[in-house]
Amino acid sequence: MIQTKLATTVASSRVALNVASRRNCLRFMSGGGSSELRKTGLYDFHVARGAKMVPFAGYSMPLSYGDVGQVASHNNVRNNVGLFDVGHMVQHIIRGGSSLKFLEWLTPSSLGSLSAYQSTLSVLLNEQGGIIDDTVICRHPEATWYVVTNAGRRDEDLAWLQARLKEWNESERSMDGKVEHEVLNDWGLIALQGPKAAAHLQRFTDFDLSTITFGKAAYLSIQGVRVHVARGGYTGEDGFEISIPPADTVEITSLIVGTDGAVQLAGLGARDSLRLEAGMCLYGHDLDEQTSPVEAGLSWLIGKDRRASADFIGAQTVLKHLQKGACPRKRIGLIVSGAPAREGAKIIHPDSEEELGTVTSGIPSPTLGKNIAMGYVKNGDWTKSGSKLLVEVRKKVREAVVTKMPFVPTNYFRG
């Protein structure tokens, strides 16, 4: 369980095991694969600005900056603009004549229907239809794809991609052209997030940002440096993820952050509460290799044509789960009364007292002032929004109402 002694919480926020909870971090650390923590190109930049650095996904990353608390940092992104270093995430380029077919083998998404510089959330699936990782895939011209995956799954993803790539290139399926895979090691990736992000970023480029709507991307020039800018993020707010060549990362980030205080730096603490309010999953908590995209409530990313062709890895399980009533579990949102329910809390049926499942993420929502949580339950009538369930926190049951996600409405720029 994540409940800890006060001493542990205090100690862990100091030695920085604590992000959303102590267990979260321990699990992420184990995903790093090495005891030596990696650093993004912005490590010194963070330290110079008073960051509290913590181990996360094998990297030393900012939890918070100076005296700015998690709630203040969270609210700043909801109301103004904040900047996150997400350079720990893995950026890939996949290209080659048969790359569309290759990626459609690895994922259930209709990637062929994407236009140039359009992206989609997707999942890498194993043979059992379980999620190896969630990912954002952006189509570029000329059979090229820009793909971002989770830092905490770096080793697993790279091993999977390399093995499948070899298999693909050795088979006849690659006859339209072999597939190449490049990892953009040490490239910077920053996320400028919040309702004032666009107006702020526009100050640094001649490119008309209103031409990039949510889910679209472009290469544009900032101070003579060509950067990849994708509109979206992990907060539910309007914003941009900006990919920067290694040599220019510090300079471009410093330029965007400026010195006038208009952009506040934000860390992992705020990132977790923002994504949970937006109903977004965190791999290792809300998603894992035993969970199908249908169970995870991500059926929308499984393309109609892909259901018909059923030619992606894991299709058998996924198609079975898509049949009415055949999905064994469902991810649900909850609003919990009294104590916040955290990861691991049992979800119980109020009448039968049957244990239906567990909470996978939960926090007191800074925006709503209510305790929000997501978790998995056995499939049944109770997954409908408005259903009343119970959640056990510290051996006491608390009332919980099934609630549609996102908990806080998204604020994307759709043009």
Partner: protein, 162 residues
């Protein structure tokens, strides 16, 4: 840095609480009120009044600062008998849930009901409304076994530098 400063702040504010009027001259010395403040390595404090035999339990300033914005406090029921080290409640911040352990044994006499509506009182530095509960001690000698302000400060500093 950060850590040491907070500890010193905590030590100073507690020192102030412990100054209380001493008994009138005609009262026998055995009944004089002596107020002692002690700390645990779990970052709880007890302000023990020998006259009433009651200890007031709080979390330290260092702890509240590390937890951040407190949003919910769970406290034991009045009348509960607790043993030193028993879990008696929990404090929830946006960041994490933390258990509270009884620093001393006894019977819970009073809980701070104001925390139901205003859990943020725990984050108010130097505000005497931020206590958790009052326990009638069954074994007052336990107080002497807890950390002094200096020992607690040293404990915080060793955590901060480790």
């Amino acid at each position: 840095m950060f850590t040491g400063r907070l500890c010193r702040a905590a030590a100073l504010s507690r020192a102030r609480i412990s100054s209380r009027p001493v008994a009138l001259p005609f009262v026998r010395s055995a009944y004089r009120s002596i107020v002692t403040t002690r700390y645990t390595t779990d970052h709880e404090s007890v302000v023990f009044d020998t006259e009433t035999g009651v200890g007031t339990i709080s979390i330290t300033d260092y702890a509240q600062s590390s937890l951040g914005d407190v949003v919910f406090v769970e406290l034991p029921n009045v009348g509960t008998t607790v043993n030193q080290g028993d879990q008696i409640g929990a404090i929830e911040s946006v960041k994490a849930a933390s258990d509270i352990y009884a620093p001393v044994s006894g019977i819970v006499e009073e809980i701070n009901k104001e925390l139901d509506d205003k859990p943020g009182l725990l984050n108010k530095v130097d505000d005497e409304k931020g206590w958790l509960c009052k326990v009638k001690l069954s074994n007052p000698s336990e107080v002497e076994g807890l950390l002094t302000a200096d020992a607690y400060k040293a404990h915080c500093e060793s955590e901060g530098s480790s």
